[in-house]
């Protein structure tokens, strides 16, 4: 039976982890490579890096991070943030990323998704959708949630599937950072509409939220950042909890 995945996400800025796992025995708390290794040793099903480096001159730092991580972690590695073109994707894959997540560039030009999924295979193209509730619907936002687009999230999700996305990473902007749980309605609407896996993101504050994301949100995988940081919960705890709730996980 296919297992539901738990994906810890690390925000990386200028090659350093911004919010991280605060383990006392960690030699370097800001080292993304070391943190990714802790997650993968702990049973993470995948590792996700979100590069939030703002300045262009430091953008190359992520490549080095990916290269080092892929030599130590033998689970899938997804990298997102600032990916504009097939060339960016090629560079990340060559450094050892297994998948890339494309956000703003996919909204601005869906050809990036069509061409890159043909060139590199759908298996490595994740389209990240940042959505905010607007009346009865959800609208997608770009540039880290700053710019509105007027595009309906459900319609867009379907379109991205048709363009060749292998997975959708759906983040509720309303919930992100609130720790009150995923936007279940949004997740289940998108998940029911598309035939590709949906990764739920944004709003996890406790382990029950992960259960809800899968059971009610119908997500194939759940992504979380802060509950795994500062040692609040380990990946192992999260998996054992999901298992106790009857959700198939890899233990």
């Amino acid at each position: 039976m296919l297992k539901n995945r738990i994906i810890p996400c690390l925000d990386v800025k200028n090659g350093r982890v911004v919010k991280g796992i605060n383990f006392v025995d960690l030699k370097d708390a800001g080292d993304p490579v070391e943190q990714a290794k802790i997650y993968s040793d702990g049973g993470a099903d995948e590792i996700c890096f979100l590069d939030i480096t703002a300045s262009n001159e430091n953008r190359d730092t992520i490549y080095e991070v990916v290269e080092k991580t892929s030599k130590k972690c033998f689970v899938p590695l997804t990298v997102g943030g600032g990916i504009r073109s097939a060339e960016d994707i090629n560079k990340l894959l060559n450094c050892g990323a297994d998948k890339v997540s494309i956000n703003t560039a996919a909204v601005q030009n869906s050809k990036v998704v069509i061409e890159s999924s043909k060139k590199f295979g759908s298996q490595c193209i994740v389209v990240a959708i940042d959505a905010k509730k607007n009346g009865k619907n959800w609208e997608i936002f770009t540039h880290g949630g700053r710019n509105s687009t007027g595009i309906d999230a459900i319609v867009y999700a379907k379109k991205m599937e048709e363009c060749g996305a292998g997975e959708l990473l759906v983040t509720s902007m309303d919930r992100d950072g609130t720790q009150v749980g995923y936007d279940i309605e949004l997740m289940s609407k998108i998940s029911s509409k598309v035939n590709i896996p949906v990764i739920a993101s944004g709003g996890v504050g406790n382990l029950d939220h992960l259960v809800e994301g899968i059971k009610l949100g119908k997500a194939s995988a759940v992504l979380a950042a802060s509950i795994f940081h500062y040692g609040k919960h380990s990946i192992k705890e999260a998996k054992e909890y999901l298992d106790s709730k009857g959700i198939p996980v890899r233990i």
Binding site: F74, N94, S122, C124, N195
Partner: protein
């Protein structure tokens, strides 16, 4: 001993390279090449594959003499070869992804789309799934039945002779996920991304 990973521009093979180097350390030389002479002189060959069946076959064909060299290596000289993902699928006679495409024909059978049962199963089949070990296979030595492996695919290999199947996985139906036919091995899952049990498979292959 040297193991060669065939680089035929079929997509991202860095993870395959990293995992083989990790397992091999300094004991075994891991080469990455499309040079036919280097492939011929290798002890073992790894054939990765990403993207579609057609795109991988096209990529093999683009390198003059590569298919003949691989044929010599695996069929005439019977040296160990491991196909990963589409690398395994290409063992078949024919694949139906994008359009009907002739395969390497090393293991009679075809590659068809996984039946999603009217949307009941999402495709691609992405994530960790358990393998059901069907027979002793040299590459599955010390890998327990029901071990988890990482999968990413929408098409499956359906061999004619079920005796070549060393493991299956449950997704919509019993999908063939590991084969062994004499010196030819293949996994539908990605051992290079399947954590310690995946690395064990790589180790088993290197140690053959």
């Amino acid at each position: 001993m040297n193991v060669t990973i065939v680089d035929y521009k079929s997509g991202n093979i860095s993870s395959v390279i990293n995992s083989f180097k990790e397992v091999a350390q300094n004991k075994v030389k891991i080469g990455v090449t499309s040079d036919l002479n280097k492939i011929k002189s290798s002890d073992k060959v790894v054939l990765p594959g990403q993207g579609s069946f057609k795109s991988c076959i096209d990529a093999l064909n683009k390198i003059n003499g590569l298919i003949e060299t691989l044929n010599d290596f695996a069929i005439n000289n019977k040296k160990p070869l491991l196909g990963i993902c589409v690398g395994l699928q290409m063992f078949a006679d024919v694949g139906y992804e994008e359009t009907e495409t002739k395969g390497l024909g090393w293991i009679p059978g075809k590659v068809t789309k996984i039946d999603n049962q009217n949307g009941k199963y999402k495709l691609p089949h992405i994530g960790w799934n358990e393998i059901n070990i069907m027979k002793d296979s040299k590459i599955l030595k010390d890998v327990k039945d029901k071990s988890h492996m990482y999968f990413v695919h929408s098409y499956e290999f359906v061999p004619e002779d079920k005796k070549v199947i060393s493991a299956t996985t449950d997704y919509s139906s019993n999908i063939v996920c590991s084969v062994e036919k004499e010196n030819i091995f293949g996994t539908q899952f990605h051992p290079e991304k399947s954590d310690k049990f995946g690395l064990k498979i790589i180790d088993n292959f290197i140690s053959l």
